[in-house]
């Protein structure tokens, strides 16, 4: 142990933390400051007259502004990957993108909470502090580069969410949802931690790139030839599966989906929007980070082929990104001996394991979610199953990205870009769906699909917007939901191989299955006769404006996906390098 002087510590703090890490951490710092201000503003005289909504919205907008790159989005094209806080977090374009995504969502979400009245004057500060605390956790989760931050991010995102699920204290169903959520959530987090302890113990580090390096040193194909080696690999597989339990819970992937419908039905619709959009997006990025972190080392990344001109993969309205089919065919011939097509290198077994596991879970989640959504009578429960199905669809993009990352970085980036496009458009679709459910609950005191009958006659704007959102959730053109599904299918096609082809077929079939139950709700609203008992249903001006603002992008990006797709392409331009 070398002697440490106070000077060394201060130097490292100034060099690494203040100069290098904190400038990239400003949005999170703004969130922390907002939480503290929300709590302490009432200590001061007159502070109780400042509405907590203003503090929360100001804080989250400040954080969002700080998250935007100072030199414009074009600077992402050349932004290098950096490790912050001596390796705890990673800052790359993906972090920057997902942070803007999460903070934009939270700004919209705070406005929604204010409009629906779930956060009233008395409890507002607690509610907003919980929302911002969970968002902080999600930001950390999606930029984790170290097992400590992975677990801490998951906990920081989950624990406030447990309270949010039970935010309506007096309702039996609400407290039941919170209890189920906390019990299953804490249990799976414990299992995940045990898996992390096995993985870090065998690999001797908790820093993801170091873990990947020592995985590569282990030389798994060689280990599998001896009995002792096989047992070591088995401990690693057990650890990986247990880590997967925690991630699958956050993603509500089958077989850890059981909490999702119950919690969504019991919690209020606003909280459901938070759980289904922000929490899922952060968990998907975390899944990608784990897959890329453990399955790739910088040493084995394929060098981008200079003979192959960089393919511009922007989706234009009239041009559906035909992949250069010849290149795909050549690649398929090149590694046709490998069923999963994950490329070579010492970590290819890790990638193969990850890809097989994630794609199987993705298929099962997607199919199960779509099938179970059929018989639902409660709209929130139906949307919960729809969330499970969409999470499965998005996991397919993650599987394709990791499968491609070992072979062709450019194609892998396309897959991640498809994922980012998906979660961005999913924000608009699900936020407006749950916002409509919440506003209708305030008007009709019901969340049953049957009670929405004939809504188009009393509240045409709501019914039309809801129908548009549902059609977009199916993935039908010309609405926005079509493009990300198309690009995920395209990424799966590029990944090639029997497994990915199977996933491709399953994904395409699922889109057809989903058609029926979404359209059933649309039919109830637009065609069925109106019940006699119901009075006039009309949203106020502000709620209607909110629904309009959030669901109009579903129409706009359906016709003009180009700008958004360019943006997600830019956000992945430095990934895997």
């Amino acid at each position: 142990m070398q002697p440490v002087t106070l000077q060394n510590v201060v130097d490292s703090l100034v060099d690494n933390t203040l100069d290098m890490s904190l400038p990239f951490f400003r949005p999170e710092l703004a969130l922390c400051a907002t939480i503290v201000i929300l709590l302490f503003v009432r200590i001061f005289k007159g502070g109780e007259y400042i509405p907590s909504f203003f503090i929360a919205i100001l804080g989250s907008i400040t954080a969002l502004i700080l998250a935007f790159p100072a030199e414009g989005f074009e600077s992402w094209a050349t932004m290098p990957r950096q490790e912050l806080f001596t390796g705890m977090l990673v800052y790359d374009t993906l972090t920057a993108f997902i942070r803007i995504f999460l903070l934009s969502f939270v700004v919209l979400f705070i406005i929604l909470s204010r409009l629906t009245g779930i956060a009233d004057a008395k409890d507002g500060q607690d509610y907003y502090a919980l929302v911002l605390g969970a968002t902080l956790g999600m930001c950390i989760m999606s930029s984790a580069n170290h097992m400590m931050m992975l677990f801490m991010g998951v906990e920081m995102a989950s624990v406030p969410s447990y309270v949010l699920a039970g935010i309506v204290k007096g309702r039996q169903r609400s407290s039941e949802a919170a209890l189920k959520y906390v019990i299953y959530g804490a249990g799976t987090a414990g299992v995940m931690l045990y898996g992390i302890s096995l993985l870090t113990g065998v690999l001797g580090s908790a820093h993801l790139p170091t873990m990947a390096a020592s995985l590569a040193d282990l030389d798994i194909p060689n280990l599998l030839t001896t009995a002792e080696g096989r047992l070591t690999v088995m401990v690693l597989v057990l650890g990986g599966l247990m880590l997967g339990v925690g991630l699958a819970f956050k993603l509500s992937a089958v077989p850890f989906h059981f909490w999702c419908p119950d919690v969504f039905e019991g919690a209020s619709a606003e909280v459901d929007a938070f759980l289904s959009v922000a929490s899922k997006a952060a968990a998907l990025v975390l899944l990608l980070r784990v897959g890329a972190g453990l399955g790739l080392t910088t040493a084995e990344l394929p060098v981008a082929d200079s003979a192959d001109p960089p393919r511009v993969i922007a989706v234009a309205a009239n041009e559906t990104t035909a992949p250069t089919q010849n290149a795909v065919l050549v690649k398929q011939v090149a590694d046709s001996q490998d069923a999963t097509h994950v490329g070579g290198g010492p970590l290819s077994p890790v990638r193969r394991f990850f890809v097989i596991l994630v794609s199987l879970i993705a298929i099962v989640s997607c199919t199960f979610g779509n099938l179970a959504a059929y018989g639902q009578t409660n709209i929130k429960r139906m949307l919960a199953y729809s969330t499970i199905a969409h999470a499965g669809f998005m996991m397919m993009a993650v599987a394709a990205a990791i499968a491609l990352a070992g072979r062709d970085v450019v194609d892998a980036r396309t897959a991640v870009s498809a994922l980012l496009l998906y979660i961005t458009l999913y924000l608009f679709m699900n936020l407006s769906a749950f916002a409509i459910v919440a506003f209708l609950r305030n008007e009709m005191h019901s969340e049953d699909i049957a009670d929405y009958a004939g809504l188009i006659r009393t509240s045409p704007l709501t019914a039309v917007m809801m129908t548009a959102v549902l059609v977009s959730l199916i993935g039908l053109p010309p609405l926005a939901g079509f493009w990300p599904k198309l690009r995920v299918l395209q990424a799966l096609y590029m990944a090639g191989g029997p497994l990915m082809t199977f996933v491709l077929v399953a994904a395409a079939l699922n889109t057809a299955i989903a058609l029926v139950y979404y359209l059933r709700v649309a039919k109830t609203m637009c065609i069925d006769p109106e019940p006699d008992t119901r009075g006039a249903v009309s949203l106020g001006f502000l709620p209607a404006a909110f629904v309009f603002v959030v669901s109009v992008p579903v129409l706009i990006f359906g016709i003009l996906p180009g700008p958004l797709a360019n943006w997600t392409d830019l956000a992945v331009s430095q990934l895997f390098s």
Binding site: M1, T86, M88, D123, L136, M149, R171
Partner: protein
């Protein structure tokens, strides 16, 4: 036969206590007794941590876990346990399935652990030669972001600072739920 190596003796003592009381937690059907067994099991785990040279973590385990978290749990037991809820029955079929699954997992983990040569333990001569090093100073330095034990590893400044925000948020949430409820018309009607 060599003379007894006392750390090993204490390891078996503490691990026997920790495992026995963990099994007792599992088998007991009385929530109050479960809480008591859990305290003893986690206390014995703290002893195992001392034996592994992690005296600071062991002390924190006793102070925060046994002294704080478990007292909180016991508080919860006292607030909620009425006669009809204290005893919990589990069906025999559940037990059989649970023990089969648990036994298989335990066998796999233990067998794999003992089959890895580096994990079987060091020689006694090596163990006697190890100079005990204090761990509190390097841990404190690690929490400040400077790793004195191994500069190539990550410093824990960020989790150390951010966990305070987390604790604040969690306390706000717990206090919110524990406050007396008010009725909120439109949302509660459903």
């Amino acid at each position: 036969m060599d003379s007894i190596y006392w750390p090993t003796f204490f390891f078996y003592l503490f691990s026997g206590l920790a495992c026995a009381f963990a099994v007792a937690v599992l088998l007991s059907s009385n929530i109050v007794r479960m809480a008591f067994y859990l305290v003893l099991s986690l206390g014995a785990t703290a002893g195992l941590m001392f034996l592994a040279g992690a005296e600071f973590v062991g002390a924190m385990q006793l102070l925060i876990y046994v002294g704080g978290t478990l007292v909180l749990l016991i508080f919860g037991v006292m607030l909620t346990s009425q006669e009809r809820f204290v005893v919990m029955k589990t069906w025999a079929g559940d037990w059989v399935k649970a023990f089969l699954a648990g036994g298989a997992l335990l066998f796999i983990l233990a067998y794999a652990a003992f089959s890895i040569p580096e994990w079987r333990g060091i020689e006694r001569t090596e163990a006697d030669a190890i100079v005990a090093q204090p761990t509190v100073t390097p841990i404190a330095m690690g929490l400040l972001g400077a790793r004195t034990d191994d500069p190539s590893r990550a410093g824990y400044l960020l989790p150390f600072e951010i966990v305070s925000v987390h604790l604040l948020v969690v306390l706000i949430g717990a206090a919110y739920l524990a406050r007396a409820k008010r009725s909120r018309s439109s949302i509660e009607k459903i």
